[in-house]
Symmetry: C2
Subunit: 431 residues, 2 copies
């Protein structure tokens, strides 16, 4: 079953081609492609494939030919820049039957750039400004190498530098506006629900009837991450584009989004790109409450998540990470008897940790966590992956036990997701 | 210009093929490919290309055909899992002329997994255990979908789940050992130095003469990450494979590694895959010392890094995250006057935080951090990205100020790397 969400339309397809050995040897992770895919999709261009080749003439020729055979538009990144743009530019010139010429305007921009940073223009920059005649140049205000736009047999091939902020600048200011003008397409709209607390297959069961009843021009995608699943509805306008097509499609998606949310209100924590820690922060701000954490096995990871949100200081004064028995007693007031009798990974201990954190951190609500992250340290009745967590406001203390897996980092991350969601639901009175 | 470090040899080439709309629509960044490229290269297999297709039958068929035409080995990831493995498995069965059968052993493993977490096996799991006959199955201890190994026309096609830790498990325990047995090649050896504290270009300047003098069969690759750079030497045996070729190559690389390390002894913190937090943990264990952290802008991230290391409890009792002025005073004894006079982001404050942490956490050595993570909150004399840190053992307190950038998460991560390295050098008496 394809993930619902792919759009099968007669629209323009894009193939993303990255040039460069640094991608093939795993030296860098390609984050450009994901950014470009999202930016293109939001404008109704569908990335139908991606590929990477090394920076040799043969690699680039094979890459471009394969890309042109499989999509209407090819966007290449990489292979441009002072130390390596020779091969890419010459290969492009050859493929598009073009000569190479010195381009004064580009050279002037490069010279101005070096003047601004108080340096002389290096001699190699004359080569940077020597470009294929047949290319329409896309001025790059963020760097030296301009983007290039070629056309052949009704297909468009665009070459961009691989430096992320140069690529993003050129995509936003040059490529996307030109593509939209060159290929006016159908309106496309998206709505995303962010959920936590259930796995993909359990959600699928609960929304099966909704999913089956979706009209063909609206697709649903499941986008899972640790402890969370995003549900994204994508609608594509069908038929002739009427004047108010975008608005009508938008309204239709809003209705479907509400319908979907009504099926799983207990799971939805936010919309679009919102994170669980942002959703929690919003609730704390709205309720005027302070939250703190008392962490053992997560070792500060939950506090880290909370403080990735700008402005978290408004509702988060701090955390105590108590890895040892002694710190649990000293900083959180956990009774030595409790630790001896029930162990550090127990309902009794997390309960006392949560209550102690209210006092130590002077907060309204606390999250306490103690577990066995692994890979070692499990016992028959408390296997690796056992995690106890508690949320308390002093009046009510809710506890939960989870059994995760054997992978230390994954256990820490899953615990983080579950703990934030538990606090969120506690504050909303859902638990 | 191809980057140094890539190996151009007549060896087996690998094409990485990712299946899944989630990559094409840019919902997830493909980190698997970089990991796989590195792991394969370490065993002497060269990734010659990468591509991504959507999870439709047509996409998968075109993707596999293109991949098989361009390399000896194809490794696919993604397109397996409870809601979407149908098409991938059926398409593979079709391409390799295979039927589909229920596989009891796989089903039993899935059932055992659900039993362990105290849940009933969902009915959909019978489909998960229905697999192509012609596939050699690669048992997946980390998840439900097994890996599959197909052969046709002397080429190998391997299909793996896309979940990173499942893929990594299967690559390490099944795929790489089988590939090495199936395609014994030229001896290849690697030595990696892990460094912290200097950027790529400054390191390059210091080791320029060494790099220029390397023989052609030994390459040096720079593998940078936030605040750190790994330097990897890769040697490939040239000519006929003699009986002791691997040992001789190994000895040659050991010599080069020592030569390189002698040029930058102040930067090297470890070897191969060792992390800074592991290196720090080893030193603490060896010196029998306890370490704690007092964190403001990093919000627990440094403690999280330290506790990603299994067994960290032997030297790490805990942390206090003091985001507010009040907590800095209450939990760490920072004088209110110091905060008022110098501000939370100051040498005076981190110094008091470090000393307070020694006492509060009962540790031998402490790390204290306070900074402006951003994106807001900067002032003309303390711009966003300003971070003060201190390391103290009560006798000596060393402080340092850094100016990072405007990106909140990047600032937190860079601070983590610098702080761990500072503590490491402090413990070794290097600062």
């Amino acid at each position: 079953m394809p993930i619902p969400g792919i759009i099968i339309t007669p629209y323009m397809t894009v193939h993303l081609l990255t040039i460069g050995d640094e991608i093939l040897i795993g030296q860098i992770v390609d984050t450009n492609s994901a950014w470009m895919s999202r930016a293109l999709l939001l404008q109704g261009f569908i990335v139908s494939g991606k590929s990477s080749v090394g920076d040799t003439r043969e690699g680039i020729v094979a890459g471009i030919e394969h890309a042109m055979a499989s999509a209407d538009i090819v966007i290449m990144t990489g292979g441009l820049g002072p130390t390596k743009d020779d091969i890419t530019k010459k290969t492009l010139a050859e493929l598009f039957g073009s000569g190479m010429s010195f381009h004064q305007e580009t050279f002037d921009r490069i010279t101005a750039f070096f003047a601004r940073i108080g340096r002389e223009t290096p001699p190699a920059m004359r080569d940077q400004a020597t470009l294929p005649d047949q290319a329409e140049l896309l001025p790059n205000k963020m760097g030296q190498a301009p983007g290039m736009w070629f056309e052949r047999d009704g297909k468009v091939v665009i070459s961009l530098p691989g430096v992320p902020f140069e690529m993003e600048y050129l995509m936003t200011h040059e490529v996307l506006p030109r593509l939209k003008a060159r290929f006016p397409g159908q309106p496309v709209a998206h709505r995303t629900l962010a959920t936590a607390g259930e796995g993909e297959s359990n959600i699928a069961r609960r929304i099966e009837a909704f999913e089956d009843a979706l009209p063909p021009h609206i697709k649903l995608a499941y986008l899972p991450s640790l402890g969370q699943v995003r549900l994204r509805l994508t609608g594509v306008w069908e038929g002739a584009v009427e004047l108010n097509a975008a608005e009508r499609l938008s309204a239709e998606l809003d209705a479907k989004k509400s319908e979907l949310e009504a099926l799983i209100p207990d799971l939805v924590y936010g919309y679009e790109e919102e994170t669980l820690q942002q959703a929690l922060g919003k609730i704390l701000l709205a309720q005027g409450k302070q939250l703190g954490t008392a962490e053992s096995c997560t070792g500060g990871y939950v506090a880290h998540l909370i403080t990735t949100v700008p402005g978290a200081s408004a509702y988060f004064p701090g955390t105590v990470v108590t890895y040892s028995y002694e710190m649990k007693t000293k900083l959180l007031g956990v009774k030595p008897d409790t630790l001896t009798q029930y162990g550090a990974v127990s309902e009794e201990t997390v309960r006392e940790m949560a209550l102690g954190a209210l006092d130590t951190l002077g907060v309204d609500v606390s999250i306490a966590i103690s577990g066995i992250a692994g890979p070692d340290g499990g016992t028959p009745d408390k296997p690796v992956g056992t995690v106890w967590m508690a949320v308390s406001d002093g009046q009510r203390t809710i506890t939960a036990r989870h059994f995760f897996g054997r992978d230390r980092l994954k256990n820490i991350q899953l615990t983080g997701s579950y703990a934030l969601n538990m606090a969120r639901r506690f504050l909303l009175g859902q638990i």
